[in-house]
């Protein structure tokens, strides 16, 4: 009999907790996002700034998992916005709208012990298409060992961008190229192997542990992508089911137009020059 009051307390507490969370949800709107790992660092900064500017009236729930995960999540209505590092594909579910929010670029990278400063377009093609297989055949390298080409699994958005831009539509030959499931793994492979060459998106490529190679004499940098001389770039997209509306529209519109968002994008990525929407 002594136990009674305690067990009666449990449902009371549960109802109280529900009431508190319900009132919190009514007071502010929550935008849920999931998708590309490549754009996650940028979205993390953008959502934090937007929430702060709106005095926490808008809250975000941000998850990563890959561009295709974000796209199928938003198509299924599991999230409000999907983040993508690639444009629409014919295998994507229908009825989606893709909004460009920023540009990113892809650098050819080598190990610190093999600090090549520049590769021509034809050299990049020959190396990644498996025609040149030894560093002795590459001018600018002092190595005489076979080249270890590091690439991504064939479904990766960064691979698509690399092949469409720097390889001019050519394909990375695998084998001999080894393929990795994530950018982090490819970065580790290039960092640990002096004979390695690979390609990484700007956020992973521009760090001190790795050597970013210039392409046709143009350095792989934010500045050269802004002035449109460096060709290896693509868009980050926000994806909504049907045209964006309500709080999602306000958020995407804020990213595309506000000075605050532009400042954040400029820190590591490239802001848009012209904003247009692509329908999926």
């Amino acid at each position: 009999m002594l136990r009674r009051p305690r067990s009666a307390l449990v449902p009371v507490l549960a109802i109280a907790a529900l009431a508190v969370s319900a009132s919190a949800a009514l007071g502010s709107s929550v935008i849920t996002l999931s998708g590309a790992t490549a754009s996650y660092p940028l979205l993390e900064l953008l959502t934090a700034k937007y929430a702060k500017l709106n005095h926490s009236k808008v809250r975000f729930s941000l998850a990563q998992g890959g561009a295709s995960v974000g796209i199928s999540d938003v198509a299924a209505g599991k999230v409000d916005i999907g983040d993508s590092s690639r444009g629409p594909l014919p295998t994507d579910p229908g009825g989606l709208d893709f909004y460009e929010i920023a540009k990113y670029f892809v650098c050819v990278v080598t190990n610190k012990a093999n600090p090549i400063s520049n590769l021509s377009a034809s050299q990049v093609e020959q190396i990644f298409e498996g025609k040149v297989r030894n560093w002795s055949q590459v001018t600018g390298s002092s190595l005489t060992t076979p080249i270890d080409v590091e690439s991504r699994t064939s479904v990766a958005g960064v691979l698509t961008t690399f092949q469409n831009t720097l390889l001019a539509g050519g394909k990375v030959a695998s084998p001999p190229a080894a393929t990795y499931a994530s950018e982090g793994q490819e970065q580790t492979a290039v960092e640990k192997d002096p004979n390695a060459i690979g390609f990484l998106s700007d956020y992973f490529a521009l760090n001190k542990q790795i050597n970013a190679v210039a392409y046709n004499g143009i350095a792989c940098s934010v500045a050269n992508t802004v002035n449109e001389t460096y060709p290896g770039w693509s868009y980050f997209y926000e994806v909504t089911r049907g045209p964006a509306a309500g709080p999602e529209y306000k958020f995407i519109h804020w990213i595309q137009t506000s000075a605050a968002a532009k400042g954040i994008i400029e820190s590591n990525w490239v802001p848009l020059t012209i904003t247009k929407t692509v329908s999926g």
Binding site: P175, P176, T179, D193
Partner: protein, 326 residues
Amino acid sequence: MLERLRRPWPDHRAEFLLGAVACLLAVAIVAMVVFVARGAWPTFSHDGLSLFGSGGNVDTRIGAMQNTTRNPPASAYAIHAWPLIYGTILSAGLALLVALCVSLASAVFIVDFAPPLVRRVMGPVIRLLAAVPSVLYGLVGILVLVPLTANHIVTTEQRRSVEYVIPLSGGVAVTVVLLALMITPIMTALITDALESVPRPWREGAIALGLNPLRATIAVSLRAIRPAIVAAAGLATARAIGEAIVVSMVSGGVSFAPNPADGTIFLFEPFESLASTIIRNADSISAPAIHSTLYAFAALLLFSSLILSLAAYLVRLPLRRYQSTS
């Protein structure tokens, strides 16, 4: 309500509840098989037996599947999975061989030869090792073992000899070492338990008849626990076959079929297994053809674990008479 639950249960009610739980398990397994088979059906029906064939490049094929349509034609499903099936059997088989030798030796040592103090420490340590999450082994592999083999063990001449075909890095050797490390503790723990259950008089009798202790262990104890060894091997192989994380991190990233005829470099040749291919491409599972292909790989894995437990059961049948009954 709670008061009634606290009272001892009548037999028939307890029986009913326990039966229901057991049935739930069976239903869950059947549901899983149906679910996987349904997902895999388009691939099985369009590819038929050519799914098990060799030729073509698995990674390129999966990439091409992403660029088909929401309703892909039959030709979009074409894929030859032999390199993956072979890679799975090869890595799990070699790992099992290594693990079997090591775990038998260490179990015999722990039970019959180790001083009591060592024995008291080793038991819990091995159980602890058996519980280490596999991603940890993967990290050790990608950060230590793969760079070590690629930079110091594989020679430039070896790399040059196959430079137009495949990259040589961690490959078969590193994967097998890590898989063996992963499954040895669980096998050792199971074999140790079995050895401890062998009635002491059996082995002592053999020693009294003039066998030295090691011979007595081999002739009596190990013979007696053969069913347990088979069971341990079956369990460990199932874990090695299904291991995705470790393999995808260290196996070399090319769906190649390593050839033992290549000599030493066979050990460093890259491969992918069924499980690692699933995890490497899971990101794009929303494309229908990739969805079905990955489910087909999952179905093959499910089927092989079924065959494995059936085989372990069949091998154990004639060994039943050795089972200790104390």
